[in-house]
């Protein structure tokens, strides 16, 4: 409810600015954010991307953002506000904005839309996301090397393909180092509840995990791991501040280069509706510096990163054995194809937990 109020307030501000923006023929670029830009995670990173864009193309463009926009009908209103305020390219940065974005896109064929992490497109609506599972594969290698107990702890948000593929990538990598590695999985059923994330980290550590991985958004788990003298990986952004001796690395969502590229295309008149699902090679995301590990582990991580970037190493290479002991159908030649990864709803062999809902 707070979000709708803020969005509404922002909407009024925008409505006020329509009359003010008259002569400037700069390209107006709009952003819709899910959280506050101070969340230190998802929205924070999108806003860093926007700031990079402003730095690069400052005098040619004008950016506007609406933060705390809830997914659902309010999103539609907020997106439309941005259209009416004269924005010609609009980025909507959360999965739940998919249908509202499509609806507004159909209504305004002359405006271009970019939706993050969804799958529905239109001639004037692109989609973009990142292959974070590549980063999780590297983390799995590091975790298996660094774990003394042979038990990894994994805090999941929701059992959706993006999270499940992350768990599987971690596990497959860890098994190449230690075939008997165990991973304990706790679903928080929330993206953001620092207290609960901290409790989950405590539970995992109390049950013997000594490396904590998370797919939730706050630095709480990192902080608990730090308190208890364990190791952990950050999420979305740099979290080393919360665990100077704890963070091994972190997957950093670096949207800047993509935003710059797409806005440049828009300025040049070459913008086309496409689906961008970039990995380490396309700089859609990056890995934070490898810290708190011996040099040989660091070298292994860097080599793996280089191999993945060069396309020589695929986290989901075939043959791959599912949790049920049967080989997974291989649609992509020597690795799973994109559709299989984007819709992943099974665990790989070695995870002795049940996928919720299965």
């Amino acid at each position: 409810m707070r979000k709708s109020l803020l969005a509404l307030a922002a909407g009024f501000l925008l409505a006020g600015s329509i009359s003010a923006a008259s002569a400037a023929d700069r390209l107006k670029v709009g952003f819709i954010y899910l959280g506050p830009i101070g969340d230190l995670g998802w929205t924070y990173q999108h806003d860093l991307g926007r700031q990079a864009l402003v730095k690069e193309l400052g005098d040619k463009i004008e950016t506007t953002y609406l933060e705390n926009v809830p997914e659902g009908p309010d999103a539609e209103r907020s997106i439309e506000q941005l259209v009416r305020a004269g924005n010609k390219l609009i980025f909507t940065t959360s999965f739940g904005y998919m249908d509202p974005t499509l609806k507004v896109a159909k209504k305004y064929p002359n405006v271009h839309f970019e939706h993050a992490t969804g799958y529905k497109r239109n001639p004037n609506m692109s989609t973009y996301s990142a292959k974070w599972f590549q980063g999780r594969y590297i983390q799995g290698l590091i975790a298996a090397k660094m774990s003394k107990s042979g038990v990894l702890g994994y805090i999941g948000s929701f059992p959706i393909p993006e999270v499940v593929s992350g768990i599987n990538a971690t596990m497959l990598a860890a098994q190449t180092i230690n075939p008997n590695i165990k991973v304990k999985i706790i679903w928080a059923n929330t993206w953001f509840d620092p207290g609960k994330e901290a409790d989950a980290a405590k539970a995992l550590i109390d049950q013997g995990a000594d490396v904590i991985m998370q797919h939730t958004d706050s630095p709480a788990a990192m902080q608990i791991a730090s308190e208890r003298g364990k190791l952990a990986f950050g999420q979305d952004s740099e979290m080393i501040k919360f665990g100077p001796k704890t963070q091994l690395t972190s997957i950093l969502d670096t949207w800047g280069p993509y935003y710059i590229e797409r806005v440049k295309a828009e300025l040049a008149g070459t913008w086309k509706s496409e689906d961008s699902w970039g990995g380490l090679d396309s700089h859609m995301f990056a890995m934070a510096p490898y810290t708190n590990m011996p040099d040989d582990v660091k070298k292994m991580a860097e080599d793996a990163q280089a191999a993945i970037t060069a396309g020589k190493l695929h986290p989901f290479k075939c043959p791959m054995i599912g949790q049920d002991g049967k080989p997974v159908e291989c649609k992509g030649g020597d690795h799973l194809d994109d559709g299989q990864i984007l819709g992943m709803n099974f665990y790989v062999k070695g995870i002795d937990d049940k996928l919720p809902g299965k």
Binding site: M1, G35, W187, D193, A203, L204, D206, Q207, Q223, F242
Partner: protein
Amino acid sequence: MELVEAIILSVLAASTPLLIAATGELVAERSGVLNLGVEGMMIVGAACGFAGAWLTGSILIGALFGIIAGMLMSLVFALMALGLAVNQVATGLALTILGVGISGLIGAGFVGERITPAAHLNLPVLTDIPLIGRVLFGEDGFVYFSVALIVGVGWFLYRTRAGLILRACGDNHVSAHALGYPVLRIRTLAVMFGGACAGLAGAYLPLAYTPFFIPGMTAGRGWIALALVVFSSWRPGRLVVGAYLFGAVTILQLHAQGWGVGIPSQFMSALPYLATVIVLILLSRARSGGSTAPAALGTVFVPDR
């Protein structure tokens, strides 16, 4: 055994903010006022509590900031719902929205900052007793305070004249008024007590639970506190049981997942809420026996002068 100890420690930490916030709301509701703005008061308490501790380096001052912030928020509520006799439900909801906004505003400058969390008690011999040592003698001050608070409130409500008058206001404000008691003044004080508790409960989060500030860190705990008051059928004793039960369910379901117990995590996350619904049903069925809600709860009182 170490695991049992660790689990109990986690449960106590998870239950403490619920217990403090619910105790405050219990007093407010016993006086006849339904303040749904607990979440809003808590979240402002979290921001101000962190700000206070960060600026002064003192957890105690941070806690005081949280208490004062919660009281100020509750005064806004009292002005609207008691002074102007606006609908309490609507005012409470508005208070939550307002609180979330204010919290974000105050906290904006503190996002990502860290503080040293509240210290845990450490008594040389006692804390080292196996199993019970750390549980009983190794907590942070908030945990002990929360227990003292609910005991004090129980004593006040049932053993003092003032408590009797407060309950009378909640059960029949017309009679209480006719007997010459200042109903609105009493209710205002009760609401302010509720605000102070909610503010303190909010401050507990960044001061002891997860020692950093991020907008939205109460994550719905204010609503659980509200549910707890209903769960307890407005009785302090049951409130203690309820708060620790909620905390225990929250922590145990995380551990159950780690052990690989094959119950869907979504179901286990919903358990505390499910328990509340079941208690509500039981309460409404057993209406004939025992008291349920204060009779005047949520009703507007305008004294005829």
